[in-house]
Symmetry: C2
C-alpha cells in the first residue's frame, strides 16, 4: 500500500484520470466521451503552502501520520454485547445527556438537538412534557456533553440518555471500547429531533424487547467482527453511512442463528427480526462505533496531523487531530444540498448535524461513494459523481485502506486518514453525505444530501500545527 | 425504453463508448486513460447479413419480438411454496431423472452428469452403489429427460430425482409455474457430479429438516416477490448467477420472521438459518426458476427470434427460440476459461454445463456483469472487463430490462432478450459466466470462469428462421 507521498511521486506512472481545473467546457467534452473527470473546487492559496514536515519540537509529521494510519487500520472492532448507557459509558450520571458534535450549551443548540433532548428527558421520565423538559434543560440541572468525550458516537442529534441500551464495540487489537445507541429507523424519530408518543413507544419497545433479545444472543454467540462486515458491505453497494442495506443484511445473517437459540418466544423473535429487516439503516449504529473504536487508538500520537474526529452538533462543525486529541477546532455547520421528502424543502432544513462523519474520518462513508453508486437515489447525483467523490478524497488522505476496498476500482483501498496538511495544500475539503433534519424541534427527517466540511476549522487546525 | 432498432439509429446522439475493432494499440492507450473500451471478437460475415424483418409466412419479426420482450418483462415470479418433485413437476414418474441442458442419452452424458445421476439413484434407494446405479442407468429402466421439458431448471448437472424437494415459483402475471431443487452449497456436491455419504447425508438433511421448515414458513408467509428481490440484488453487487450473496441475504431477511413463527424448535431453526447463511449461492436456485418462469410465457410467439432457453448438459450446448419453442439447436459445449480451486487445473475441467444460463437468457447473470464487479475474484477479470461484458451484450439484445438495472450505469436497464439475428449480424456471441465441474464422476467443483456460447447453434437457428 503506497503512502500518500509515494503516490504523488508515482503519479505519471499510473492510469490517468483527468483532473479538470477551471476549464468547464473541456471537462464536459471529455465526460461526454466517458473519460473520468474530476472537477475540483480549487482555490490555490495566494502564495502556495509549503509542506509541513516536522513540528517545532522536532517530531516527524510523516512518521507520526504513518503510525496513526497503522493503528487505525490495525483496529479490529467487534460487537461484544449490549448494555444500558448508564452501566457502561464512562462518566455517565442519571442526569447526563450526550449529544453529537463538539461541546454546546442548551442556549446554542439547534432545533433538532433541542427536540431530541426534550424527547429523551420525557422518555427518561425526568420531565412530564417537552415544555417541562425544555425548562429543565435550561435550568442547568442537566449535564450536556459530547458523545465523543465518552468514547461514544450518535447519528444526527446523537442523543444518548442514561437508560437507553447501547452497543458495546471493542477494538480487539487495542482493547478500547466504543458505544452507540440502537438505530430507530427513518422518519419521525428521536435522532432527527422528533418527540411524542410514537417516539417514546418505539424507544420503550427497543429497551424492553429488542435490547434483551439481542443481548442474550450476543452472550451466546460471542463477538461479531465488524471490520470484516464493513469490508463485505462495501463490496455490496453500501458505503456504510447513508446506505446500509448490505450491512444490515449481513448483520442479520450473522446474529439470527444465536437469536433463534436464545429467544424461546417465536413471535417475539419474529418481531425483532422484522424491526431490523424493515430498517436498512440499522447497521449505521454499528458502522459508526466501529469507526470510533478504530480511530481512538491513534489519539495522542505526537505530531500527527490526521483527523480522529469530524462531528457536527447542528450548530457547529468540529474536528480533532491525532496529535492534539482533546482540542476541538470548530466552524459554523454547513448547509446540506440534497433531496427532500415530499412536503419539505431547503427552507425546512437544519444545518449539517451528527457524529456520523466518523465514518468518513475512518475511510468509508462518503469517502467510499464509488462503492455505492445506488446511493444516488438517496442523496442525489450520478454514478460518475460517486466515482469523482472518491477520486477527489484520495487527494486529501494519507493512504489507502488495507482492509476496505472498492470493487469498481479493481479493489483499490478506500481513501483513509484525512490529513489537515493535504486539505490546506489542495484546497479540497472533505465531502460528506448525510441525512437532513427539520430545523424545528419535534418534526424529524426531511431529506438527505451532500456537502463539504467548512474550511475555517481546517485553517485553524493548520495554524495550530505550526505551533506544535 | 428504446427498442434495439431505435437504439441503433440514435447511436451518434448518445454518450460515446469506444468500440475498438482490431487496433489493439489504440484501445490500450485509451484504456490507460480510463476511457471505456470494448474489444469485440469481431468477425464480419463475408458478404454481410441482411436484417430479417418478416418470416416467409409474413409474420413481422419486430412485432413478435416486441411481444416476447413485453411478456418476459411483465412476468412476476413469486416463491409460492415447496414440495417434492414427484408431487408437483408434471410428467415425473418414480423412475424419472431430470438433467440440465438439451436431451441426452446415458451413453453420451459427461462425467459430472453421470456422477450426479449415480448419486441421485443411490439417494433415491433405486441402487445400492454408484456402480449399480451406472448399470441401472445403462439398462434403459430410467427415463432421462431435460429439466426444461418439465418447466424446471437445474444448476450444473441439474439432476432432479423424484423425492427431492423443489421450489415452486409462480409467475403471478401469467399463472405458469417453474421448479428447481434447493441449493446444496459449493464443493463436493451432487450438482457438480459428486456422490458419497457426505452428499447423501446433506441431501437427506435438506429433505428432512430444511424443506419442511421452509415449507411451513411459506404456508404462513405467503408468496415472496422474486423479481423485486433480483432487482435489489443487482443493486447490491450480485449478478444473480455466480454471485448471489445479496440475493441470499435478502431472501433470509424476508423469510426468517415467518420461520420464527412456524418453527418451534429453536435449535432446528438456527441450523436452517446457518445452512443458508453459510452458502452464498443459496439464491441461485431461486433466481434460475424465476428466470424460467419469466421466459416461458413467451414460448410460441410466431416469428420471434428471441431465445427462451440457453442450456448445457456438459456435452452439448442448446438454445430454443420463442418462435419455435420445442426445437433445440445444439453444438458441442465449450471450454471454460477460469480460475481453479487449489489442486485443480484446466485439465480437470468438464466442458460448460448447467441450466444456469437461463439467467443470461432472462437479462441478468453474465449480462449484468457490470452490476457485479466483485465477481472478478470468482471468475477472473477486472472491473473494466465486467463493464465491457455488459456493454457488449447490449449489442445482441432486443431491449433493456424495465425492472433490472445497473447502478454504475446510472440505472440503465440490463441487456434483455438475446436476438438470434443480432448475434449473427454482429458476430458477438453471448458471454456467460459459470462454475466448473471436474470431468470425472464423483469429484465435484474445481473452479469458475467465463466463456462464450458456441456459434454453430446460432447459425443453425438463423437458417431455421429463414424457413419460418
Amino acid at each position: 500500500m503506497a503512502s500518500h507521498s509515494e503516490k504523488r511521486s508515482d503519479l505519471f506512472d499510473q492510469p490517468i484520470t483527468v483532473i479538470n481545473i477551471g476549464l468547464t467546457g473541456f471537462s464536459e467534452s471529455l465526460r461526454q466521451q466517458g473519460v473520468p473527470v474530476i472537477d475540483v473546487d480549487w482555490r490555490p492559496p495566494p502564495e502556495g503552502i509549503p509542506r509541513l514536515t516536522h513540528t517545532k519540537s522536532g517530531a516527524s509529521i510523516e512518521e507520526a501520520n504513518k503510525e496513526t494510519a497503522r493503528r487505525i487500520m490495525a483496529g479490529r472492532p467487534e460487537i461484544v454485547g449490549l448494555d444500558l448507557a448508564k452501566h457502561v459509558i464512562p462518566g455517565m450520571s442519571e442526569r447526563t445527556i450526550l449529544h453529537a458534535g463538539p461541546p454546546i450549551h442548551w442556549e446554542r443548540m439547534c432545533g433538532p438537538t433541542r427536540g431530541a433532548v426534550m424527547g429523551a428527558l420525557v422518555y427518561e421520565r425526568l420531565a412530564r412534557s417537552p415544555e417541562a423538559a425544555a425548562e429543565l434543560s435550561a435550568s442547568g440541572e442537566i449535564t450536556f456533553d459530547p458523545c465523543h468525550h465518552h468514547h461514544a458516537v450518535g447519528p444526527m442529534a446523537g442523543i444518548i440518555s442514561p437508560s437507553m441500551p447501547v452497543w458495546i464495540i471493542e477494538n480487539a487489537e487495542f482493547g478500547n471500547r466504543a458505544y452507540c445507541t440502537l438505530n430507530e429507523g427513518l422518519g419521525k424519530v428521536l435522532r432527527y429531533g422528533a418527540f411524542g408518543e410514537d417516539v417514546y413507544r418505539r424507544l420503550r419497545w427497543m429497551a424492553d424487547v429488542l435490547y434483551p433479545t439481542l443481548a442474550a444472543a450476543f452472550e451466546r454467540a460471542g463477538p461479531i467482527d465488524l471490520r470484516a462486515m464493513i469490508a463485505q458491505a462495501l463490496h455490496m453497494g453500501d458505503e456504510c453511512h447513508n446506505r446500509n442495506r448490505a450491512g444490515t443484511s449481513l448483520f442479520l445473517r450473522a446474529i439470527t442463528p444465536a437469536m433463534a437459540r436464545t429467544c424461546e418466544d417465536g413471535e417475539r423473535l419474529a418481531q425483532v427480526i422484522e424491526f431490523i429487516n424493515e430498517n436498512d439503516h440499522f447497521f449505521l449504529n454499528l458502522s459508526m462505533p466501529a469507526a470510533k473504536a478504530m480511530l481512538e487508538p491513534a489519539e495522542g500520537i505526537e505530531g500527527s496531523t490526521i483527523l480522529t474526529v469530524m462531528a457536527r452538533n447542528g450548530t457547529d462543525f468540529g474536528i480533532r487531530m491525532a496529535g492534539d486529541p482533546d482540542r476541538w477546532f470548530t466552524a459554523p455547520a454547513g448547509i446540506v444540498e440534497g433531496l427532500f421528502l415530499p412536503g419539505f424543502s431547503a427552507d425546512d432544513a437544519n444545518p449539517d448535524i451528527g457524529d456520523s462523519t466518523i465514518t468518513e474520518t475512518a475511510g468509508f462513508g462518503g469517502f467510499a461513494m464509488a462503492a455505492a453508486p445506488a446511493i444516488a437515489s438517496f442523496v442525489g447525483g450520478t454514478a460518475q459523481d460517486a466515482l469523482n467523490s472518491t477520486f477527489e478524497m484520495y487527494e486529501i488522505c494519507y493512504t489507502e485502506h488495507e482492509h476496505f476496498s472498492i470493487p469498481t476500482l479493481d479493489f483499490r483501498g478506500t481513501p483513509m486518514g484525512i490529513d489537515v496538511r493535504f486539505v490546506m495544500e489542495t484546497g479540497i475539503l472533505p465531502k460528506l453525505n448525510t441525512g437532513i433534519a427539520h430545523k424545528d424541534p419535534g418534526i424529524g427527517m426531511v431529506g438527505a444530501g451532500i456537502l463539504r466540511a467548512p474550511k475555517e476549522c481546517f485553517i485553524e487546525a493548520f495554524e495550530a500545527i505550526k505551533n506544535w
